[in-house]
């Protein structure tokens, strides 16, 4: 071929094992929380998170406070600094890792008024997980008693 717009400056062949930008997304999504049937979570454009259950809609705002959920059958202890939640129910202790799931650079996508992956976001995630964990614990214990 006589015509060569690249002249001698040919493009390098990309390495097959090079990192892919999509890895950041996929790694962040590796551990998807599976919610029990009938429970759903929405994040509103304003940043509020709403946990929908069969009986109630629980709104959690990113106020930044730790959340402790205590029920007759379960005790949920939130350890915000460690990004973990411990659920004690039916004689078992369940540890839940609540570290933020989205990579930090995802927050720069847009200036839209949404929740970002900062510490407030982390606490909100903890609150969501705690609320859901408590609901799961109550459901499990209730079913066992039946």
């Amino acid at each position: 071929m006589a015509y060569d717009p690249q002249k001698t400056r040919n493009r390098p062949t990309p390495a097959a094992d090079r990192p892919a930008p999509v890895d950041a997304f996929l790694d962040a999504m590796a551990e998807v929380t599976v919610l029990p049937e009938g429970i759903d979570i929405d994040v509103t454009p304003g940043g509020d998170t709403i946990v929908h259950t069969a009986d109630a809609d629980i709104s959690i705002t990113p106020a930044g406070d730790d959340v402790i959920v205590s029920t007759r059958d379960a005790l949920v202890e939130v350890r915000a600094e460690l990004d973990e939640v411990i659920v004690e129910a039916a004689g078992e202790e369940i540890f839940i890792d609540t570290a933020p799931r989205a990579p930090s650079d995802l927050a720069d996508w847009s200036n839209a008024p949404v929740v970002h992956s900062d510490s407030g976001r982390s606490k909100m995630t903890i609150a969501i997980v705690a609320a859901v964990a408590a609901l799961i614990a109550v459901l499990v214990v209730t079913r066992k008693r039946r």
């Binding site: 015509y3 493009r11 090079r18 930008p21 847009s110 976001r121």
Partner: protein
């Protein structure tokens, strides 16, 4: 049901043109087609003659409800003699604000579109992905069983093919091989030496993954401008040739929908391209 994601992280290569061309080819065969417009620019939506849709893909992504696509899709304004007008899961500019919300969803949001498409009865779904790597594109690739990489014959567009292949392979590695790369569609192939050079480069690099090209023609641009299917452009010069190229592309990308007697693997064409001349002919 085949679900094709039309994808390239590089913008301006003609993803929407190819999406609408494939939809036109399938609809012209009487197939029940759904176009999913994941691009906030909403060009596929307007190209289908839909303006200010009552429901959009944004609702499907927010709803997180299995099978919601069927009830949220709207009919298009396309008219195809003897064919069947496609439906569209329409886009709006507001879709751009959905992406950061999806990224922050505490339970993961990469499979919202897949969920929305569950159980629908379309013969073919074609997803027009946005020209970026974000959760909208990832939703498109998670929902698809095959990905069609669109490029144009140029240096940067050719670089983009390698990048999007990498993206698809990483997703497929975690998804049991899905989506598969259906192939590379070379769009807007003109008659310049430069176009010929880069088309040849693509053929050398990707071999038989490169489908027969879609040539640059004014008829294709006019179909977009008039929100008409390329198969419904009548006797406009070049329209039938363009329609034939999209028919061939559909046969190659969706062989289970191929016309009888037509080979599903069309050879990549180079012989018809003139190597002289300095302007892009339409």
């Amino acid at each position: 049901m085949p679900i094709v994601a039309v994808v390239n992280q590089k913008g301006g290569v003609g993803k929407t043109t190819v999406t609408l061309g494939l939809a036109s080819a399938a609809a012209n065969r009487g197939k029940n087609v759904l176009v999913v417009d994941l691009d906030p620019q909403a060009n596929a939506t307007s190209g289908l003659g839909v303006w200010d849709p009552a429901t959009t893909v944004d609702i499907a992504l927010e709803a997180d409800r299995p099978g919601s696509a069927g009830s949220l899709a709207v009919p298009t304004a396309w008219v195809l003699e003897g064919g069947r007008a496609p439906d569209v899961l329409a886009s709006t500019p507001a879709l751009s604000s959905r992406e950061p919300q999806l990224a922050n969803d505490p339970v993961g949001a990469q499979d919202r579109l897949q969920l929305a498409l569950e159980g629908n009865d379309y013969d073919l779904v074609v997803i027009d992905c946005p020209p970026s790597l974000g959760l909208l594109t990832i939703n498109g690739l998670f929902a698809a069983d095959r990905a069609l990489i669109v490029t144009e014959p140029g240096a940067w567009a050719s670089d983009g093919v390698a990048n999007v292949q990498l993206t698809i392979s990483r997703i497929a590695a975690r998804r049991g091989g899905r989506p598969e790369v259906a192939g590379v569609a070379v769009n807007r192939l003109g008659r310049t030496r430069d176009a010929h050079y880069w088309h040849t480069m693509l053929l050398e690099q990707y071999g038989d993954q490169v489908f027969a090209p879609v040539h640059m023609r004014a008829a294709v641009a006019e179909a977009s401008a008039q929100s008409l299917p390329i198969h419904g452009l009548g006797t406009r010069q070049g329209a039938s040739d363009a329609a034939q190229e999209f028919d061939t592309l559909l046969d190659a990308v969706v062989p289970e929908m191929a016309r009888s007697g037509v080979p599903v693997s069309a050879p990549a064409e180079t012989a018809a391209i003139e190597t002289s001349g300095g302007t892009n002919g339409v």
